[in-house]
């Protein structure tokens, strides 16, 4: 915090802790979308510490019918999954995803950032435009950075909406991710005897994955 900010903070005292928790509660409760800590802080009175309030709130809702969950860099309130059976009325009928779409989604999630060529290499079949479009439309995947290889292909990564939909705190919490990684199944292994260029690309992919 800069000096001037401190000055202002001392002029307007931050609300007491319990009050801050109420505020975070109200904001998260009212929003269907996850709210980032930064946005919480921006909406709360000056000097409030949303992160601390969140920790208290999360504990308070432990075991309740509604949970405080982390979604990527943001937070949201969601009903407890074990009570889903009460919600037939609220259930959203989702379009059934094709097998190709589900596999493509999994490949993007576990290998992200993944290029279309990498998806095709793993599935052994070309990926139809519609499959990618469907996942983009669901806002489960989005474009990542272009790969710095010849042709500068676009990459795909999963979104906050993806994490929210599948109740994941982060992409690191994908089921079985560690096992897959230690089994070497997330490595981009070039076919034996491939030209040098492919190796470069493989290296870069590995680097991207480390960053995740």
């Amino acid at each position: 915090m800069s000096d001037s900010e401190d000055d202002i903070a001392s002029l307007f005292e931050a609300p007491p802790e319990g009050e801050q928790e109420r505020m975070v509660e109200a904001i998260l409760f009212a929003s269907a979308e996850p709210v980032t800590v930064a946005e919480l802080n921006a909406r709360m009175p000056h000097g409030a510490d949303a992160a601390a309030a969140l920790a208290g709130l999360k504990k308070r809702y432990d075991g309740r019918g509604v949970h405080v969950v982390k979604v990527g860099e943001a937070w949201a309130m969601r009903t407890a999954p074990d009570l889903g059976f009460l919600m037939q009325k609220e259930t959203v009928e989702t379009r059934k995803l094709s097998r190709a779409a589900i596999e493509t989604l999994a490949i993007v999630a576990y290998h992200q950032p993944a290029t279309r060529a990498e998806i095709e290499e793993i599935r052994g079949v070309s990926v139809s435009r519609g499959t990618i479009d469907q996942l983009l439309e669901l806002e489960w995947i989005r474009f990542g950075r272009r790969r710095m290889t010849p042709g500068r292909p676009v990459t795909y990564v999963v979104t906050q909406e993806f994490l929210d939909h599948f109740g994941l705190e982060s992409a690191r919490d994908l089921p079985g991710l560690k096992e897959l990684r230690s089994a070497g199944l997330l490595e981009s292994r070039p076919p034996p005897g491939e030209p040098q260029e492919e190796d470069d690309e493989a290296d870069q992919t590995a680097m991207f994955e480390d960053k995740d």
Binding site: F29, A30, S31, A32, E33, R43, H67, A76, M77, R78, T79, A80, P81, G84, M87, E90, T91, V92, T94, R99, A100, I102, E103, L105, A106, I107, A109, Y110, I122, R123, G124, V125, D164, H165, F166, G167, L168, L174, P175, G176, L180, A183, L185, R189, P191, P192, G193
Partner: protein
């Protein structure tokens, strides 16, 4: 690679192949088909017999051809590649050949199959998770954040100064003729000097010819000096006067031409 177990299942495998042929449209490419075939080996994918798998696939392609089923090109490409792989695996390695060994190629195919299977399993686990809108739910009546828009206007000191400069500059140029009173043209100077030069037989500084009242500002001085100097050059050209200067930046002197 062990093949013993495979031979025993040959009949079963053949039946499975026939089922595959009927269902070939249901497979997502040759890799998917190979993965399905590999299940007949009932072994861990890491211990799979790629050679047996290759033979099984090639057999499948043969039968499909015999049944005149049209197969997509990528199935045939895979068949050709597997035939090549099979020959590599069966023949002793050629020391001349620098390409990858049959074992390396087989290992990569096994890796691809294992990876595809792993992704399928992962996809299944993912879809089995509690899902939003099915198992857990968001707030039913989200309250939209009402946006209160507040407009503040801003300007910097620079804007202010530029604004003032703009206004003032406009002012100075509007009466542009005003500047004329600070300008002396060469013609004006020439007229003056023609009248004065007759009195000057001696060397006199050019500065002394400057009109009264033109030393009030540097601009006026400069304009008057320049016009008188230019005029004096004209007079030299016409042969009316002579011009001299003792050194750089020394005073310029003129006198009536003696010639």
């Amino acid at each position: 690679m062990p093949e013993d177990g495979f031979q025993a299942d040959a009949v079963e495998a053949r039946l499975a192949e026939e089922a595959l042929i009927v269902d070939v449209d249901g497979y997502e490419g040759p890799l998917d088909l190979l993965l399905t075939m590999s299940r007949t080996q009932k072994v861990d994918l890491r211990k799979i017999s790629v050679l047996a798998l290759a033979e099984q696939y090639l057999g499948f392609i043969e039968r499909a051809k015999a049944l005149r089923i049209e197969l997509a090109a990528d199935y045939l490409v895979m068949a050709a590649w597997l035939a090549f792989l099979k020959s590599r695996l069966l023949l002793p390695p050629d020391p001349q050949d620098e390409g990858p060994t049959g074992e390396e190629l087989a290992a990569h195919l096994a890796f691809q199959l294992e990876r595809l299977q792993a992704m399928r399993d992962a996809a299944a686990k993912l879809m089995a998770r509690d899902q939003k809108g099915r198992d857990f739910f968001v707030r039913g009546v989200p309250e939209d954040v009402t946006r209160v828009r507040k407009i503040t206007y801003t300007a910097t000191l620079l804007d202010l100064m530029q604004g003032y400069a703009r206004v003032r500059t406009k002012d100075e140029f509007r009466p542009y003729a005003m500047d004329r009173e600070h300008l002396m043209t060469m013609e004006q100077a020439l007229d003056r000097m023609r009248g004065l030069i007759g009195f000057s037989g001696e060397w006199t500084t050019l500065a002394s010819y400057l009109p009264d009242g033109w030393d009030s500002s540097p601009a006026r001085v400069r304009s008057a000096v320049a016009s008188h100097f230019a005029a004096s050059l004209e007079l030299v050209k016409a042969g009316t006067i002579e011009l001299r200067q003792h050194g750089m930046f020394e005073a310029i002197e003129i006198r009536k031409s003696t010639a």
